[in-house]
Symmetry: C2
Subunit: 87 residues, 2 copies
């Protein structure tokens, strides 16, 4: 599982490529809020430029409740992109 935050896309691409090169058959990208588009970018760059044998197996979305500064609840969307090597 790789959490996508505010770093640039290539940092995450490198982390994913490393995991697959270490023998992982499945890597899950997880992101919340504005980082969701970065997670999709990461998956697309991996598939199109680095690991053409990797496919998107599943994409799940959800809503998480966070606590704001004043204690109020904030709903934030999340995404999980499951990448896996083709059979």
């Amino acid at each position: 599982m790789i959490y996508i935050g505010n770093k640039n896309v290539m940092s995450y691409v490198l982390a994913v490529v490393t995991q697959f090169n270490n023998g992982c058959e499945e890597v899950v990208l997880k992101a919340r809020g504005r980082a969701i588009s970065r997670a999709v970018d990461t998956a697309e760059v991996i598939r199109n430029k680095f690991l053409p044998n990797v496919q998107i197996k599943e994409i799940r979305t959800g809503t998480e409740e966070l606590e704001g500064e004043g204690g109020q609840k904030i709903s934030v969307s999340s995404i999980e992109i499951v990448l896996s090597t083709k059979q």
Copy 2:
């Protein structure tokens, strides 16, 4: 098909709810780049707050090539979220 751009999430939620109320069984949200997270927000708000009988049938991602101001090619990630009413 509803294109998600820079408006606030509730504008798109309203557009989707209207389509389902008009009898559509399937509505596709499409977004590019930074609007991708807004598309996920829209789908989550619809499912959790407005139309609990609507489910996410499929999520597809892709890469589109746009032409930049100087004529150079820019790759932009895209997402399509297929919403449908439960059987």
